[in-house]
Amino acid sequence: MAGKQTTELEAKEEGRSAAQQDEIALVGRVASGDAQAFEALYRCFYPRLRRFLERMMRRPQLVEEILNDTMLVVWRKAHTYNLRSKVSTWIFAIAFRRALKALSRVDDPVVFDAEEGTNPANSGPEGELMAHQLRRLLSHAMTSLPAEQRAVIELTYYQGCAYREIAEIMGCPIDTVKTRMFHARRKLRALLASRMEDVL
């Protein structure tokens, strides 16, 4: 069992390394003004960035703007990428800063899309219904967290980042990441417990 897990981890790591090398090569070409490489990099990061910004900002009307702002910085500053971090860390750090800046400017209400990421056609079986219910509650509970805590949750649970990487993306100490995660977990647990009671 342990051996199997190790093999899976090694395979995952090898896959990541190859993907990371491709990303580094693309950034190198973008730095020399290669428009095709930029489009490839854009398409590669679009789904991840879109998801991250949607979850962190909770304002769909701003997501595309911030995503394109982020990639505009990538286009203009690709020559400053220094290989010290992963390409994804570098790009997500830009996106995080842009998103925080945009959030500090806006004062419009947060949009809660209760049906996000769900497909009603699949909600037949009881298990799926419960999962659907939990997703709705979780999505709602997330709106009550500060943007920084939402970012930590998203980067950990969906983007699969290590806490050191998250600290680098958010430009804060490792302990701050752990503290934000701790508070986010505590709030989510409390919110989910109370709402589950309401549902049941």
Binding site: G33, A35, W75, E116, A131, R135, Y157, K178
Partner: protein, 219 residues
């Protein structure tokens, strides 16, 4: 109650509990991974928390709706093209920019010295270099610097390429310039054949005009 408080303050428990989210996403390594694994074997509370976090992760991931980035990318492409017309430009400018960023400290001085040498050599060339090539008019007495004579010929517009080639062969001339604004061609041939060639050309039906370039006795 007091037992719970004591366990919560246990530094090993606290450290392991803090790391659980990254145990769940599989990014823990080395000592931290070992610490969490060891602690999970003996802490029921953390085992429950782990189950909850795994459930949370599955729920959080949810199902994704694929979106096509093409429209969004096109907007950005237009934005870049509008703000800075460098989209798809040659890498030369950026490469030179990077060169100066990473060049050794003496590089700018070397470039200045090189520029100074170029300026000095340029000045010497202008002030003391070779004489300019003299301008030669059509009426000059010696139209050919190589012992060759030059004629100007206007051919009938209906002449074929084969006829033109035949005439040139017969006279021993070759076209060196033209057509001029008046459709004339400059022919070059040995000086000793100039008179006979002129006569032969004038006899051709396909030749409208044949004259030597410059003053001549047979004009």
């Amino acid at each position: 109650m007091s037992g719970q408080i004591l366990r919560f303050r246990d530094p090993v428990h606290q450290a392991a509990e803090e790391l659980l989210p990254w145990f769940v996403n599989g990014t823990l390594e080395g000592k931290e991974l070992a610490l969490v694994e060891r602690h999970l074997g003996e802490c029921v509370r953390c085992q429950h928390e782990l189950d909850l976090l795994r459930e949370l992760q599955v729920a959080y991931a949810g199902s994704e709706i694929a979106t096509d980035p093409t429209e969004s990318f096109n907007k950005l492409r237009h934005q870049i093209a509008k703000s800075r017309p460098q989209w798809g430009r040659s890498s030369l400018l950026r490469a030179s920019g990077r060169f100066w960023q990473h060049a050794p400290i003496w590089a700018p001085w070397a470039a200045v010295a090189e520029l100074a040498v170029i300026v000095v050599l340029g000045a010497l060339l202008v002030l003391g270099g070779e004489p300019a090539v003299p301008y030669r008019t059509l009426g000059a007495t010696d139209p050919s610097p190589h012992g060759l004579a030059q004629l100007v010929v206007v051919f009938d517009p209906r002449i074929t390429e084969a006829e033109l080639r035949q005439i040139l062969r017969a006279t021993g001339a070759r076209i060196v310039d033209g057509p001029t604004s008046a459709d004339g061609y400059v022919l070059e041939l040995p000086v000793d054949r100039q008179a006979s060639a002129l006569e032969a050309l004038r006899a051709q039906r396909a030749v409208v005009l044949a004259e030597r370039l410059g003053p001549g006795k047979n004009r």
